[in-house]
Symmetry: C2
Subunit: 200 residues, 2 copies
DNA sequence: GTCTATATTGCGATAGAC
DNA sequence: GTCTATCGCAATATAGAC
């Protein structure tokens, strides 16, 4: 069964927009990659910007369920950090382009930045930040830890890995799945680094 | 004394190209911001791409001196990591746009990616990576540390902070200089996290 | 070195036939 | 729902006057 044109457009647009950015791709290029007439972009999405939004919705909306799971989670702060790391890993596994869109919006913001930050990213951020606040209060983490700074550095550890491929591919051997190994090591370093020193 | 047009173009182009990316700015916009005729972009740089390269050279070439200093440095691995963090901080202080260009190239690569990775970024990466390798060998760091993974996560901690402004500005109080505080805390967490546990 | 004027190409969007 | 054709405009680059 042939996919409908709307779907074909979204699917073809994902890698193109992720790699070149919104301003870097033309509607003709997008249509061609989808094997679809370029006028259909206006028909289905009202224009190029609309297709971009459609792509972002497609990629980010599944993350919503995951944040909701976060918010219900009853677990200790270190466990919540572990859980966050696992979720980032699974998001990336399911869609390797999401992180690229996020970083693209952070470094070269478009009209869509406000939307995805408010709708998705902030919630993740609040979740980690809360985990650090609680963790300090409950004595898991070092008491001079700043929860905001800690959240940024944890997010940095997790996100940068998936972005830095152009640098790291030279240093990482092929035919090995590094993603999971990386995340495990990084989160271990991190939890070890923030934990309260025990003077018993 | 009036600056020459070449200089005016470079200076005006830095923030514009950093924020919108190469594909997101037109030569008209660049010329207007510099108060200069748009034909001068071709005259001085051979075109828009040339101006972009000129901007990158302007921003990245000072980093060269700093890496050379790295390579001569006689210091223990943890000290070298500390030193790296300080250098990143001073680079960002001197030029707040450099990190944005780097990330822009990583997420939405242009023709210039290969150049700046090979010429600048790789050298930084090798320096940290070597520090971790030595640190494991000399017993400073945990023996199951993977130097490549460790380098990525350290770079992530340092870089992401400077990129994540659109998310974090909402959470960080104004009128405080967070940069230095952040870097100090992050590197402390990190060094604490990687250090060898002492069973004496 | 700097300007105007223009050549040329490609862009995004839409009207209207099918 | 999909196509062709085309409009209007913005893009980069350059020729040539000053």
């Amino acid at each position: 069964m042939e996919k409908d044109s709307r779907t074909k457009l979204i699917e073809a647009a994902i890698p193109l927009l992720a790699e070149k950015g919104l301003a870097g791709v033309s509607i003709r290029e997008l249509a061609e990659a989808a094997n679809v007439n370029s006028a259909l972009i206006s028909y289905y999405f009202g224009g190029k910007d609309g297709l971009y939004l459609g792509v972002l919705e497609e990629l980010f909306s599944p993350a919503d369920t995951l944040v909701e799971a976060f918010e219900k989670l009853e677990a200790s702060p270190p466990e919540r950090i572990q859980y966050y790391a696992k979720v980032i890993l699974s998001i990336h596994k399911k869609n390797p382009y999401l992180m690229q869109f996020m970083h693209s919006e952070l470094t070269n913001p478009t009209f869509a930045l406000k939307i995805i930050v408010e709708k998705y990213i902030s919630r993740f951020f609040k979740f980690i930040s809360q985990a650090f606040t609680d963790g300090v209060k409950e004595g898991y983490f070092n008491s001079d830890l700043d929860p905001t700074y800690a959240s940024i550095s944890l997010a940095g550890i997790m996100n940068f890995y998936f972005i830095a491929r152009p640098i790291t591919k030279e240093f990482l051997v092929d035919n090995v799945d590094h993603d999971e190994k990386y995340v495990i090591q990084a989160v271990n370093i991190y939890l070890n680094g923030v934990r309260r020193i025990n003077y018993e």
